[in-house]
């Protein structure tokens, strides 16, 4: 394995690992705060019990999130010193702000998890709100850094270095708003459905449990609205991609030819050498309509770009299909839940709905991994779009396959232990 490839795999693996815990760090505090708030409003001890149980699981997940995030911030230097040398001064601003968000998150998390009988109930709830707010803020800032890699602005590039830089303009580039919005909603959708799914699984066995019904309701309260609006925010993302990264859009859609009234492809397997995407269901003019809101708009195909500027087409296309398909499933389940809730029929009494929600549990997370694959692999061969190639940014340190294997093994171990601990926590609460 070449060093660049090992570095890319290590980065991708670390990010794919961290993002799961980061997403829980954004979503879980909201659920705990809702449960605790319900307890204070209703006096029903079920909600307090729920908040405390969730807090236990969250404590483990937060710790793994913190250590895997630390790994990432080191890896920026360990793997991509060329990138940091080039872009540190301009991309560092959101990371610095993120540092302060981490501080507030960690401080109030400590108070939330270990301060149940050390601070007043109101202060405790407020600490939970602080954790939720700073979790979302961390996501906002770090995604701004990623957005700059996708749509770099706020500088002039001269002779391989950046001059006249404006870090604030760089933070507020065209990708920032769509990416941050889509990511934060994704976090709420994924966590909400995951939590609801776990409790739905228990409810399939004990449909009467008030504890699990309350948990299901709170999980869905967060997950369903987020799942329903996610396609709208995905549309905003797709339109910025169409405008700023047309090669990525073409790869997402398996669109090789430049054409007016391009079709939307569902499924299909892009073939880079034959330059077509067979086995797809094509919806005429669908792509032009979605990407430009005009059924006759011209969509650039990959052939409009030199071969060396193509991302790996099949990976990007398939990941995109996976994300959209899972998003579609979450919308369906969301509509079903809403339909039952509006008629005031207890959700837990529909076994089919409980099965559907259980199946939804991992879907948000899979969609997130797929979506990031679209964003990151779709940006290739660039690390900073249009400016720096990934191969020029890698460290001169060699044998990078060694750290890649070592960190993969380490994360595998962490993942297994974490999953086992969570399983124990859930199994204990199930009758």
């Amino acid at each position: 394995m070449s060093d660049v490839l090992a570095a890319r795999f290590q980065m991708a693996m670390s990010l794919a690992f961290h993002i799961i815990f980061a997403v829980v760090g954004i979503g879980m505090p909201v659920l705990m705060v809702i449960a605790e708030w319900r307890w204070r409003r209703t006096g029903d001890a079920t909600y307090l019990e729920l908040a405390k149980r969730w807090a236990k699981g969250a404590a483990v997940l937060f710790a793994v999130g913190a250590v895997s995030g630390t790994v990432l911030s080191f890896e920026l230097g360990l793997l991509w010193p060329g990138f940091m040398r080039y872009a540190g001064a301009i991309i560092g601003m959101p990371f610095s702000l993120e540092g302060f968000a981490f501080f507030t998150e960690a401080i109030f998390l400590g108070i939330y998890l270990y301060g149940w009988d050390k601070v007043s109930p109101r202060a405790h709830l407020a600490a939970g709100v602080m954790v939720a707010v700073s979790g979302a803020a961390s996501a906002l800032f770090v995604v701004m850094a990623n957005a700059w890699m996708n749509t770099p602005v706020g500088f002039r590039a001269i002779d391989g270095s950046l001059v006249d830089i404006d870090p604030i303009a760089a933070m507020l580039g065209p990708a920032s708003f769509p990416e941050a919005l889509h990511m934060i909603i994704a976090a709420y959708a994924a966590t909400g459905f995951a939590v609801a799914g776990i409790h739905a699984l228990v409810l399939l066995r004990t449909p009467g449990s008030a504890f699990h019904r309350a948990a299901l309701a709170i999980g869905l309260t967060m997950g369903v609205p987020a799942g329903l609006v996610q396609p709208l925010s995905g549309d905003i993302s797709a339109r910025y991609v169409a405008r700023w990264q047309p090669a990525k859009l073409a790869a997402m859609e398996g669109q090789f030819r430049t054409e007016r009234g391009a079709p939307l492809r569902l499924g299909g397997l892009p073939n880079e050498s034959a330059r077509n995407t067979p086995y797809a269901i094509e919806i005429p003019r669908g792509l032009s309509l979605l990407a430009y809101h005009d059924p006759r708009a011209e969509v650039k195909g990959l052939e409009a770009f030199p071969r060396s500027a193509w991302p790996p087409v099949a990976v990007v296309h398939i990941s995109f299909q996976v994300m959209v398909a899972l998003g579609g499933y979450l919308v369906l389940v969301g509509v079903w839940v809403m339909a039952r809730a509006i008629r005031r029929r207890p959700l837990a009494e529909s076994r089919w709905l409980m099965r559907a929600v259980t199946i939804a549990a991992p879907m948000g997370f899979i969609a997130i991994e797929a979506g990031w694959t679209v964003t990151e692999v779709g940006r290739q061969p660039w690390i900073v779009f249009g400016l720096v190639r990934t191969s020029d940014a890698v460290t001169p340190f060699t044998n990078l396959v060694v750290p890649f294997v070592a960190f993969t093994a380490l994360y595998f171990f962490l993942g297994v232990v974490t999953a086992w601990l969570l399983y124990r926590l859930v199994a204990k609460s199930a009758p």
Partner: protein
């Protein structure tokens, strides 16, 4: 002071903050490993309850150091992370295992065998990480990093030679290892001193008082040894530290602070010891920074040469100032909640007692 120098000072302060807070958390792991005597279990419980609410927050200081470095001194950051690839990777593994084993032990199975397994991992990671962190700092100071980078620039070594140079020669001189030991001893000492204050019963407090006194003795020995090693291997550092008008007063103040903390421990003035001990650590780190000034990496990057464009530095300083307005009150609030002198003892943490 130019804005770049101000940021450099902020970075040193953040590093000191990490050492006196996060460092002590590693020290706690050392004492977990060395827990012995009739009150073994109580010692471990005290350490765990002292760490649980604060270690994640303490740890963020390190992130701040890294982030400020790459934002404000991107070229020096890139060089450091190339030359110190191996120790920094080891340190990362240590950080990951320390944090995760601690939390797995607290929330996992309460069976003794399982607890013992996580304890061993927690202890090993708590010992290795400070050693490697210290050796990395030693390697910057002693010029090992600079030598590797020069060789890399010259580009006339074979890939294999370069690999060996980067992996082993950047950071393993006697001086670097001495600094590693010094760091380990310093962190353990801080932890022992803080635990004296945290302990709620006298016998337990005496356990940690004895440990604090012993570690102080070894720390002083290392503080004498380090300059000797520096004289042989980090000459520039030695002269920069020892040949200034402020050299002897500075060493004097450090010695007084160390002596004071020893006396405070001896005479059971634990609150005083808790102030004096971090002051000693701050003085040692500050001395290193002063000796290296104006260099970030000796003979390679001065603060001025490595600095990012002024606009970045200024914006970061504004962000640090605004961030501090939120950060410090929150930190004080956290410490007030969990580190009040009269706080009732927390036996383990209540979330984990069922099982």
């Amino acid at each position: 002071m130019t804005p770049a120098v101000v940021v450099a000072v902020v970075i040193v302060i953040a590093l000191i903050a990490y050492a006196v807070t996060g460092g002590a958390d590693f020290g706690g792991g050392v004492w977990d490993a060395l827990a012995h005597g009739p009150r073994r279990r109580e010692q471990r419980a005290l350490i765990a309850s002292a760490l649980a609410p604060i270690w994640e927050a303490n740890h963020v200081w390190l992130i701040i150091v890294v982030v400020l470095l790459f934002t404000c001194f991107p070229r020096a950051f890139a060089d450091l992370f190339i030359a110190l690839h191996v120790p920094l990777s080891l340190m990362l593994v240590g950080i990951v295992l320390r944090g995760s084993s601690f939390i797995f032990r607290a929330y996992g199975s309460k069976r003794l065998a399982a607890q013992a397994r996580w304890s061993r991992l927690f202890a090993a990671a708590s010992i290795v990480t400070p050693l490697v962190l210290g050796a990395s700092i030693g390697a910057i100071a002693s010029g090992g990093v600079t030598r590797s980078l020069h060789l890399l620039d010259r580009g006339d070594s074979s890939a294999g030679e370069m690999m060996v140079q980067l992996a082993l020669r950047s950071w393993l001189s006697t001086f670097d290892l001495t600094v590693g030991l010094l760091t380990l001893a310093g962190f353990a000492w801080l932890a022992a001193v803080y635990l004296c204050v945290e302990a709620k019963d006298d016998a337990l407090r005496d356990d940690f008082r004895a440990r604090a006194l012993w570690t102080l003795a070894s720390l002083v020995a290392l503080m004498v040894l380090a300059p000797l090693a520096a004289r042989a291997q980090a000459e520039r550092l030695y002269h920069a530290l020892m040949d200034q008008w402020w050299s002897w007063p500075y060493v004097g103040i450090t010695a007084v602070a160390a002596a004071m903390s020893g006396w405070a421990l001896w005479s059971r003035r634990f609150q005083l010891a808790r102030l004096a001990a971090p002051a000693v650590v701050a003085l040692v780190l500050g001395g290193w920074a002063l000796a290296q000034y104006p260099y970030l990496i000796p003979n390679r990057w001065t603060i001025a040469d490595a600095a990012a464009p002024p606009i970045t530095i200024e914006l970061v300083l504004i962000a640090v100032a605004l961030g501090s307005i939120v950060l410090f009150p929150s930190l004080i609030y956290l410490m007030r909640i969990f580190k009040k002198e009269d706080a009732p003892g927390v036996p383990g943490n209540e979330l984990t007692t069922d099982d």
